[in-house]
Symmetry: C2
Subunit: 136 residues, 2 copies
């Protein structure tokens, strides 16, 4: 597989781990070589830093989500040496819960770093599209 | 200067260009070696792609902003070869306008790439902190 295909597979693993509430897989997705550099922004949330804090947040989010499915569109992968940037739109289908209200559009920037055992996630930044019009 | 200091200076230039509505400086901040890879998410906006589209959006945003000042906190810089990731909180002080309502907290992930003439911005992703409590 090409680098971009490998990165795409790890990016997909991030969303599949969330969809299946698979804590072990989520742990494997995130980088453990530089745990202090791990960063996660869930849509509308403050910035969470550090692998342990980020993984705890995922456990909480997944425990509070009955059903969620992602349809990724506009996925672009930029491989820059041993770093890869994935930008995409997350089209989110979810049950109505205290955390969400059905369908939502989220845009995401994900940063992956190449390690001896493959690409691992260092940054996930998701943000809500609030429907403001773009003046262009 | 170290790489991290150089990256910090370019990161600062991004916000100073916005504060001073300096279109020329904003153009210099953004990468022009790979214009299709340029990505920008203004808080709450959809993802904008391509250098021209992104610079047009900045011109529109700056034209619609009477006054804005950024106080960056929690700035972390991760240099990975010829790529650098800056994550930070933007504490935004602004006049009340149609685009904003005074003070706001935004978290940002900025990606810079090393070019022969210095570090240039490839990705800016800002997102609003909506006040949801973090369960941790």
């Amino acid at each position: 597989m090409t680098d971009a295909q490998d990165v795409a597979a790890t990016n997909t693993a991030l969303y599949e781990a969330f969809e299946t509430a698979d804590v072990d897989r989520m742990q494997r997705v995130w980088d453990d070589a530089d745990p202090d550099a791990v960063v996660c922004v869930h849509p509308g949330w403050p910035m969470l830093r550090g692998r342990d804090t980020v993984l705890r947040s995922w456990s909480a989010v997944m425990a509070g989500t009955d059903y969620i499915q992602f349809f990724l569109t506009d996925v672009r992968i930029s491989v820059l040496g041993d770093t890869a940037i994935v930008t995409c739109q997350e089209n989110v289908l979810t049950e109505v819960t205290e955390q969400g209200d059905g369908n939502a559009a989220v845009v995401a920037t994900n940063v992956f770093v190449r390690r001896p055992d493959g690409w691992r996630c260092q940054v996930h930044h998701g943000s809500p599209v609030l429907g403001r019009l773009v003046d262009e």
